[in-house]
């Protein structure tokens, strides 16, 4: 939360802000050096000079960070756009596949219904000359059982 607030504040600053801070630090330092020539102000320069240096360092630090962050942010945005596009494509592909699955399942099911109806219709003819031996049933069931489950 804290870093997010900092990021929001930093991203709202204009590009020239941090160089300006660094330059103002240099100017403070030079000003301190200038007034150091006057004996009355000399004691104050001991405080003002370090402040100027610190402001310059801070300004340069933030300028370096902000510059690279801007480049990096552009890469992040580009990546986000690519990911969003890929996710959209992926979603479309999934929808298309789901539709295809439903259609193919229906075709397989309908085909089975037709054949089952045909068997019911022809049952009298099929059963007229053939009686199924229990051994045949047993063998067929053995073949239909999953060997991996049977082995357990």
């Amino acid at each position: 939360m804290f870093s997010w607030i900092i990021e929001m504040i930093l991203s709202g600053l204009p590009e020239w802000f941090w160089p300006a801070v660094a330059v103002s630090g240099v100017m403070i330092y030079l000003f301190a050096k200038l007034i150091g020539n006057f004996p009355t102000f000399k004691p104050y320069t001991f405080f003002i000079k370090p402040i100027g240096v610190l402001i310059t360092i801070f300004g340069v630090f933030m300028f370096g960070g902000a510059g690279v962050t801007a480049i990096y942010q552009a890469q992040v945005d580009e990546m986000k756009a690519k990911i969003a596009k890929a996710e959209e494509e992926s979603k479309t592909a999934n929808t298309n596949l789901q539709t295809k699955i439903v259609t193919k399942t229906k075709v397989i099911h309908d085909r089975q219904v037709v054949i089952q109806d045909r068997i019911v219709k022809d049952a009298a003819i099929i059963d007229s000359e053939c009686k199924l031996d229990p051994l045949a049933v047993k063998d067929l069931n053995s073949a239909a059982k999953n060997p991996l489950k049977v082995a357990k």
Partner: protein, 91 residues
């Protein structure tokens, strides 16, 4: 003066590396719900039956079961290949 400039340069570079946000990551997509359903076992004949027509009903149901399951495997392959292609396109 040179020392100060070097120091400022180093500090500037440190600023570069310490303010980077993490790169967004791409997530692997979810599968269509129908692919998550496992294939059923094959149907068995009623052991008391002596009618060939009854056996045929079960056999044809099993054929249908096979094609449903085969289709599921084919769909898994298609899903994986398509999604992998999309996933790899993001670089």
């Amino acid at each position: 003066m040179k020392k100060i400039l070097t120091l400022l340069f180093v500090i500037g570079l440190t600023g570069c590396s310490s303010m980077l946000a993490p790169m967004p990551k791409q997530s692997w997509p979810d599968t269509p719900p129908d692919l998550k359903i496992a294939c059923d076992d094959l149907a068995l004949l009623n052991e008391d039956t002596t009618k060939l027509s009854e056996a045929l009903k079960v056999i044809t149901a099993n054929y249908s079961q096979y094609y449903t399951c085969k289709d599921k495997v084919d769909n898994w392959l298609e899903w994986y290949n398509t999604q992998q292609k999309i996933y790899n396109s993001v670089k």
